[in-house]
Structures are given as structure tokens and as C-alpha cells.
């Protein structure tokens, strides 16, 4: 779920993700095609409310009826790996997320809210839109504080602190031109042999490996998955996203997903390799010792 007020960079982010899809088939659902949401060079065809995008991706507009679009999607486009829902500038992503929760065919991965580092605090003070902006932030698992290149370091830090206060359940991710690693948004992979640098494709600018760090762990024993999840999702670990296939002490093989402070465990799919964990965080904030501690036997 990608939310945030108009002009915060949602469209730019979506385009980055389509470029960095890396073989994933993504369906992007946008409120409307008002201002063309997809870069022209990515579009390979169009048909009414659907744009065909290179790499097997697709972009559909849902007007006012997201639920209808989500109900129809599996029939219209079987084999979609990820759905990115771009909510309208005044929508409340938390409410949209709970609506998506009514659909058995979908599981919410996370709520990402974009904010413009330069203007978000002014917007949040707007008599009409202020509470919409703050309610958007309050629902975020990740807040991408965009356009950080346009503000002085001091003001940026102040805005980061402010955003932390607004998004008590979210992690703040400073960014420029909405450039974040595709994996942060689309999910980490544990089944391919990844290297710390290999997975970090940050389109549109600064090399991701400068800003982000990922760590990979192999475990040859069972852990208490819920406990590990809570520890990794705690702010001090600095984990923005994690994915693991872990042998639980209760005997089950669990697939663990963490986005910000949201974590979810599910049955691991057949054939998953147990004992792998990948975590991703901002360089300097991701705390290896903390993560290792979380995985320790106790």
C-alpha cells in the first residue's frame, strides 16, 4: 500500500519499482489515470483502464472502487506476484488496508507513506488537510521522507524526529527522488543466493549500498519465531524489512515477514529452505549485534 499526499512522490516511486521489479509480475492499482502514472517507455500497450507494462506488469485504474478491482484482478491477470495499491492523496491508507484485509486472496505486506520533507510539516498544519496527512503517517509501517536533498541537514533531522512522533508504528526512511531499494518495497528474497550488495538495486541515483545495508543469516536450529519477530521489529534493531524461513521451536516451519514494526508469520511454502534470514536497514542504523542477539538461543 503506497499512500501519501499529492506531490509526495508516489508516482516516481511506483515507476522505480516497476523498473526494479527484477522479474516479479507487479500489478499497480492507481486511483485514476489522471496524470499518466507510468513512464511512457515502460508502457507496452493500453486497453481502457489497463496499461500493459514491460516485464509482465500491469497498471489498472480503480476509480472509486478498489474492492471491485481487487476482486477482478485474479481473473483478469492470473499469476500476479505483488500488488501495489497507490491510494489517492486524501485516502487514509489505514482504512484502505483494513478493507483489503476483507479479501481472502490478499495479504497485506505493508503500508508505505510518502512525505515531502520540504513541505510535509506545512501540509500537516493545513486547516483542511492537516489531519488527513497526520492520519496517513500514523498508519505507516514505513515513512519515506522524500526530497531530503531539498532541505538542509538540520531541518531534515528535525523533520525526521517530527515524523517519528507522527508515525509511532513506522520507520522513517529518508530518500531523494523517491529512490529506495526495490527490495524494501517488494520484499526480500531468501530463496536465491543473494549477496549483501547484489540485492540492492536503487534506481534513480545514489548507490543503494551507500545508504542501505543488508545482512544474511543462516541458522541450523529452531528458534521461537514470535520472539525473534518481536525483537527484530523493535526500533533498536534498525530493521526496515526482514524475511526469513525459520524452524520454529514448536516444530513448524514458518515464513516470517517484517515491514517496519509490522510482522507476520505464515506457513512456509513447500520446498522452502529452512534456516535463512535476510534483513535490510539503513546503513548506520541496522544493528548487527542487535539482530544477532535476537537470533541467539535463550
Amino acid at each position: 500500500m503506497i499512500g501519501g499526499f499529492l506531490g509526495a512522490g508516489k508516482t516516481t516511486l511506483v515507476n522505480h519499482l516497476l523498473r526494479g521489479a527484477g522479474g516479479l509480475r507487479i500489478a499497480v492499482l492507481v486511483n485514476d489515470f489522471g496524470d499518466l502514472p507510468i513512464d511512457r517507455d515502460l508502457i507496452v500497450g493500453s486497453d481502457g483502464d489497463t496499461l500493459e507494462i514491460s516485464g509482465g506488469c500491469v497498471c489498472c485504474s480503480y476509480g472509486s472502487d478498489l474492492m471491485e478491482a481487487l476482486l477482478e484482478l485474479p481473473r483478469r491477470r492470473p499469476g500476479i506476484d505483488r500488488v501495489l495499491i497507490e491510494t489517492s492523496g486524501v485516502a487514509l491508507p489505514g482504512m484502505v488496508a483494513s478493507a483489503v484485509g476483507l479479501l481472502e486472496a490478499y495479504a497485506l505486506d505493508g503500508i508505505v507513506v510518502l512525505a515531502d520533507a520540504e513541505t510535509v510539516r506545512t501540509q500537516a498544519a493545513d486547516v483542511y488537510l492537516g489531519d488527513t496527512i497526520t492520519r496517513q503517517l500514523a498508519a505507516a509501517d514505513l515513512v519515506i521522507l522524500n526530497r531530503c536533498d531539498l532541505v538542509a541537514a538540520e531541518a531534515r533531522d528535525e523533520t525526521v524526529r517530527w515524523a517519528e512522533g507522527q508515525a509511532p508504528n513506522g520507520r522513517i526512511v529518508p530518500a531523494e527522488r523517491a529512490a529506495v531499494p526495490a527490495e524494501l518495497m517488494l520484499g526480500l528474497r531468501t530463496h536465491v543466493g543473494v549477496s549483501a550488495t547484489g540485492i540492492l538495486r536503487t534506481p534513480g541515483g545514489v548507490a543503494a549500498s551507500v545508504l542501505y545495508e543488508s545482512l544474511e543469516f543462516t541458522l541450523d536450529r529452531a528458534v521461537d519465531v514470535d520472539q525473534v519477530a518481536r525483537a527484530l521489529a523493535a526500533p533498536e534493531a534498525g530493521v526496515l524489512r526482514a524475511k526469513g524461513c525459520l524452524q520454529d521451536t514448536d516444530g513448524r516451519l514458518a515464513m516470517l515477514q517484517i515491514v517496519g514494526r509490522r510482522f507476520e508469520r505464515a506457513e512456509a511454502p513447500v520446498g522452502a529452505t529452512p534456516g535463512t534470514l535476510v534483513v535490510l536497514g539503513l546503513r548506520g542504523q541496522l544493528d548487527r549485534a542487535c539482530v544477532e542477539h535476537a537470533l541467539e538461543e535463550r
Partner: protein, 554 residues
Amino acid sequence: MQQALTTIFCARRILTMNPSRPEATHVAVRDGRILGAGPLDELAGWGPYTLDDRFADKVLMPGFVEGHSHVSEGTFWRYLYLGRFDRMDPDGKIWPGAASVEEVVARLQAADAKLGTVGRGAPGEPLSGWGLDPIYYGERRVSRQDLDQVSTTRAVGVMHASGHIFNVNSCALELAGLLRLGINHPGVPVGDDGLPTGELKGPDAMTLVGRHIGFDREALANDEPGLRRFARLCVRQGVTTATDLANLLPADAVAMMRRVCDEPRFPVRIMSFRRFQGVTPQQAVDHAVDLRDLSTEMLRLGAIKLFVDGSIQGFSARLRWPGYYNGAPNGLWYTPPRPIRELYRLALEQGILVHSHTNGDQATDMALDCLEQALLDEPARDHRFTLQHCQLADSAQFRRMKALGMCVNLFPNHHFYWGDQHYATTVGPERAMRMNACATALSVGVPMAIHSDAPVTPLGPLFTAWCAVNRRTATGRTLGTEERIGVADALRTITLGAAYTLRLDGEIGSIETGKRADFAVLDDDPLEIGAEHVKDVRIWGTVQSGRVFPAGDM
């Protein structure tokens, strides 16, 4: 050359709404238009005529203009009516109100048995009702167990009167994949057993079950029989021009509406607004400009309807401080300010009429701000942009509307149907008494209409007039004595007032030379029957563009 035929109708009384000649005894009609209204000897001067005295004991008024309705009122009559209050269907049958949940269930059971016995539907055909309003049944909520008494094999679903909630049975929940544990959604309450109770609030939850209980999108769009039913209801209520507010107006719907409306015996002029949704302001205005050229005498196109916020009873209206009386969080913006400003500006530039739905007073403020800015870029003298519902506007806001050249279409029917809830829960006593401040709007001089929002409340301008005149709630409370208006003002509002907001006041809304021969034909005189009884005025039918439509023939 053959002289066109002239018919002169005589009537007990003709209330013309023409300030130069407020009353008359005769009206002369030629080619569907009014030659004049006055004494017979004056009208005879137009040449040979036929005197038609069938209205000799009737009262004629300008045909009523419903400035905010939806053609879907006609569609809904395909479902079983289950409202709390008596309601007339397009055939003139009065469906009695259901006094209790048990009665609602019994009616559904009877309808279910009928579906079974006539063999019309295989088991599995859904059973759908509408108009349910459990707020009149005390604390008692309707549950899926109630509706399971109707059927356990057939999906049963009932839409609430507000249009914002469904109640469904277990079968419908199961078909929608919702009869399971772990549902966590504010619009889907769960019972002690952890399973949904069968109440589904808000469009997201409703979409999931709608398709299983006969309220699917396809059923509601482009519905020709529904349009015909709606037209018959209009005749029964004395309405000769009605709005359809709003419609996405795809080409096939426009083609159907043009074909049906232009039939020689189609009795009501429809003005259908293009809903602003899913397109840019530029695209919306371009579409409206194209649609304008497709207008016919009986189907008017080329205006735009915009939603700024949600509803008060759904707590989705945007309120200014101090917000909702029960402390509910503020509502939702349906459209952000930037596209609203842009839409207004482009529409002003092209002369396209825009009506904006605002319920809460903050939404009204925002619309006023947006128009103020748009007018700086694109000054326009007579735009008649109208705020629809605008229920919570205060006098300062009415003054701004006046200054900006806006019109307002208020919703006094709310007082009767939900006034008690507004008083107790949503906005509290003071604002409940101010809501739909008709008297303030008139005294400030804002051009005003009043409406039913049918099917949200029943189509019936005389009932709406009664609501504005009496401001009575369902339990008999008078909600805001100071904002009551007189009968004469109310009658002008449901004719010329509404016509003005549609830019049609030069064609309809009064009985005078040159205008369309559109009349409401009444058995009783609304100026004589007494303010308490305006809603009880009996309606014989209509004359529309000179064509006579007795309600009894509908």
C-alpha cells in the same frame, strides 16, 4: 399554412410563480409551450382554441423540479421495500412501513416463499430488499441470524435507507468469503462468536457482498426499466423535470437515456450530471462539453457533479471544530482541493455548470475557498455553481455563497428521517437545529432549492416542502423553529428555485408566456390546506410539454 393547435386549460386556481401575475384561471398551450396564463378573454386573442376543462376543479402549479435525485430510485423498486415508513411505488401502490425487525423478517419470508412456489428462481437466486432503517427499532440490531430465518440456502441482503449499509444472512457472508474468524474491519462488526454479525458498513464491505445479493454494479448501471419506473414516480409526485445526480454517463448509457427520454410519451425531463471521478479536471470538463452537444429537449447533459466529502450519519462528512457530537473522528475528503480548484476554473472557462456535494461545514468552507480562487482566475458573473446538501452551513457561509454567486440546494428531508439522530448523536442539538437553514439562506438571498436525494429519501417535492415548512422529526420534535419557511416560499423553491440552480429558470419553473407547458396538477390547494398538511396534497398527475399524464394511468 395550418395554424398550430391551441389548447386552453381552465383550472380552479393556477399558482404561476410569475411575480407579475401570481394567479390565473386559464392557461393557453401551443406546441408544448405556454402562450399565456390569465383570464379566458385575454387568451382567446391568440386565435382559435380548444377549451379543455378537465382541470376545472384542480389546482395547477408549475411542474415540480427535483434538483437532487437519482434515477436509481426507479431501479430500487425491483427489490423488496422494507422501510419504516409507508412509501409509494411507481405503480401507485403504497407499501406500508415495517414496524419491527420481526415484520421485516416476515416480509422477506413471504417473498422467499413466493420465489420458491412460482419456481421463478432456482434456489440460489438472491433475495434483495431496500429501505431498512433499524434506528427506529431501538437498540435491536439486525443480525445474520434474523435473516437466516428467511433462508439458509439463498443469499438474502437488505440495503439500509441511507444506502451506506447492508444487512445480509450467513449464506451471503459465506459467498463473499466473510463468514470466517479474524475479520478486523470497522465496517464489519463481529459477534460474540467472532464471526461477522451480517452488518456491512461502507462501500468497501458492501462491494464484497453486493454482487451476491443482487446489488451488483451491472444491475445498477444503465437500467432502462429503472429509468421508466423513475419517470412514473415523477408523474405521481407532480415532477416534470428531475435531476440524475450523478452518473458516469458512458456512451451506452447516454444512448439509452436519449432514446428513452425522447419517446413521445416519456413524461419527465431528465438532467443528468457527469460525476467527477476517475478522470482529470480537464477530461471531466471536456466530456461535459461533448455531452452538452448531445442534450435534447428531454435529456439535458453537460453539467458536472463533484463529491467533496461524505455523509453526516456515516460520520464521513468533514466538520469544522468542534466536530462530531459523539466524538467520532472527522470524516473524509473525497476530492482534494487542488483538483477541485482546477475543475472549477476549467468549468467556468467553458461555461459548464458544477454542483458540489458538501455535507459538513468544513467541506463547504473548502468548496467556497476553491471557487473564490477559481473566480479570480476566471471571473464569471452567472455561473450558478451550487452546493448540494450543504447541510451544516452557518449564516456566514451563506453570506459567502451569496457574495460568490453560488446557489444552494438544501436537504430538509433529513430532519424528518434522521433529525433525532443528528440531535442526539452526530452533530448535537444546536447544529441539528441549524441544519438545512432554509430561512437563513432565503434571508441572505442565496438562490435556493430543496431536495429528496431519492432514493435516500422518497421522491416528493411536496413532502420536501412540508419538511422545510415544519422541520418535524420522526418522533415529532420541531428541529429549529427559526429556520422554518413559509408555504409560499417552499412552493417557489420546488419550482422556480430548483430550475434556477439548473440554469433552466428561463424555460421552466413558472407558468408564463414562452415557457414549457409543464404543470403539476393537484386535487388540493397547497396554499389552503394548511402548513401542517402540505405533504397530504393529493396529486392528480402532470402536464409535461403540453402532454397530459394522469397519475392513475401510470
